[in-house]
Amino acid sequence: GESVGLHLPTLSVQEGDNSIINCAYSNSASDYFIWYKQESGKGPQFIIDIRSNMDKRQGQRVTVLLNKTVKHLSLQIAATQPGDSAVYFCAENMLAGNQFYFGTGTSLTVIP
């Protein structure tokens, strides 16, 4: 499969601070990316997505940045809350295929 990986396996932040989770992908043909949040024992939950024709997309408290030059994706969470504690995965896809590949997750812990 394609290789999608994260730089940091764990991240601890103080409540109220901003969090940044990074992801590197290897397939330059990938053109659709999604960030998922997974809590223990639950299925991945969609957070935000971005297509390759965009560099940035914002949601509620979250922003995804895409740098196609260096094949890098990041998820920024503003004013991190204890409920944000979870494992975060990035997933990549080529629109020509029905297969999303997940990278190694980053475990985010929010310290109250």
Binding site: Y32, G43, F46, N98, Q99, F100, F102, G105
Partner: protein, 111 residues
């Protein structure tokens, strides 16, 4: 809103037995995906179906097979189970080329 429904939620089997996992996608979603997730690992893509036809294949063992039926539900059949098959199995559905929605998963334990 309706979500992806998977059954059973938990399944315990012994080595060399067979198991069948079921998935009911969100209505009007035309694509179904199966993923396997071991403890502390990322979800591994197994197989996908688009409009009831197999679309893409990932790291699915030959002992496993899957199909999608006329009502769009999908089943993952696993034979000759091994200890290493113990994992969370997720089904996801989507409209083609759109974001995936995941079910709650089936926790398979092979003893």
């Amino acid at each position: 809103a309706a979500g992806v429904i998977q059954s059973p939620r938990h399944l315990i089997k012994e080595k060399r037995e067979t198991a069948t996992l079921k998935c009911y996608p969100i209505p009007r979603h035309d694509t179904v995906y199966w993923y396997q997730q071991g403890p502390g690992q990322d979800p591994q893509f197994l197989i996908s179906f688009y409009e009831k036809m197999q679309s893409d294949k990932g790291s699915i063992p030959d002992r496993f097979s899957a199909q999608q039926f006329s009502d769009y539900h999908s089943e993952l059949n696993m034979s000759s189970l091994e200890l290493g098959d113990s994992a969370l199995y997720f089904c996801a559905s989507s409209r083609r080329n759109e974001k995936l929605f995941f079910g709650s998963g089936t926790q398979l334990s092979v003893l």
